[in-house]
Amino acid sequence: MGLLSRILGLGQPSSKQVAKDRLQLVLIHDRVRISPAQMEALKQELLGVVSRYFDVDTAGVEVTFSQHQRENRLVAEMPVLPEARRQKGR
């Protein structure tokens, strides 16, 4: 990394950005009072329920929180495989 880009703070994220990212992550768990382990358990259970109705591409499953102001929203994204393969649970 050149001197100029070091002076300008390019190349690696500023410590301010690192602080902000860390805070946002830690506050999600503080606010909803859920540990990463519990989040993982929730994800597995959600996956279990949804899989009874759809074929889910498990590799693409994401369960996160989104924030708007001080409202926290649970967002589950589960890629569903094409209908031809969806015949379960009915």
Partner: protein
């Protein structure tokens, strides 16, 4: 009827007492009748920051327990005649006061004062609950550091749960040069994370230490940047619209170049 403003933070050492002293002194200097209450029972400090420690006879716990009338415990600041202090007890502990006693004391003071500014102890336990109980408005003080912002976020949630929200935010000890070079959370970052209204930001200022050495609130002592920031905060609390001073931008060509390059 007076308004009760409780100043709190969660984390200790972020400048709660300094903020309380200066907001109260500024409101008084602006012509309002103000009483500052030290809610930190057992660890009182508002008296020394205001330079009134030698005149204490009775304290908040004496008033709450009926050993004296509230007027007997009030100390008038001779330099700012509209400013009074109701000191904490130094010999009792945090459990010496119940929330309903604090509400009762504040209700008596509402009749005579326009503003009652309560300095909350650090933490989120009993003492904080006592300071929160009488509040019409809560001011949360934080610094632009991860630990302080995290604790402030917890307090924002507790204030909302107690139906005392939305709280207002004061960001203290902002180091403009560190914000500029991307090594400190800027006021807009902290405000975005906490999502509560920004009441003011206070620059890091060595004069704060000097003023607490002397027991003379900054706002009484000339035109220091931090004193100006606290005066603006006091004006906003009394309903005057004052634009925020942009601390992160000194207007120099260098800071513009850095910002320009970063944005790309």
């Amino acid at each position: 009827m007076g308004r009760v403003i409780t100043v709190t933070s969660g984390k200790g050492g972020v400048g709660k007492t300094t903020a309380t002293a200066n907001i109260a002194a500024a409101l008084a200097a602006q012509g309002h009748k103000v009483v500052a209450i030290d809610g930190d029972i057992g660890l009182r400090n508002l008296d020394v920051v205001l330079g009134l420690e030698n005149r204490i006879v009775f304290d908040l716990v004496d008033v709450a327990e009926g050993r004296c009338r509230v007027r007997q415990a009030l100390i008038r600041d001779k330099r700012t005649p509209e400013l009074f202090l109701l000191p904490a007890s130094q010999t009792r502990d945090k459990d010496a006061l119940r929330p309903e006693q604090m509400v009762e004391v504040c209700d008596q003071l509402r009749e005579d004062f326009e503003f009652i500014v309560v300095d909350s102890p650090a933490g989120i336990e009993g003492g904080f609950r006592v300071a929160l109980a009488p509040a019409d408005q809560v001011v949360i003080v934080t610094t632009p550091e991860v630990s302080a912002v995290r604790d402030a976020d917890r307090v924002v949630g507790l204030v909302e749960a107690a139906e005392k929200g939305p709280a207002l935010l004061v960001i203290n000890r902002v180091k403009a040069n560190m914000v500029r070079r991307g090594d400190m959370l800027g006021p807009e970052d902290v405000q975005e994370i906490l999502s509560i209204e920004l009441l003011g930001m206070v620059p890091e200022d060595e004069a704060v230490v000097v003023s607490s050495n002397r027991g003379l609130p900054l706002v009484m002592d000339g035109a220091h940047p931090a004193g100006k920031a606290f005066s603006d905060i006091a004006l906003r609390l009394s309903g005057v619209e004052v634009p925020m001073t942009d601390l992160s931008d000194d207007g120099s060509i260098w800071s513009r170049i850095v910002r320009f390059v970063r944005q790309r």
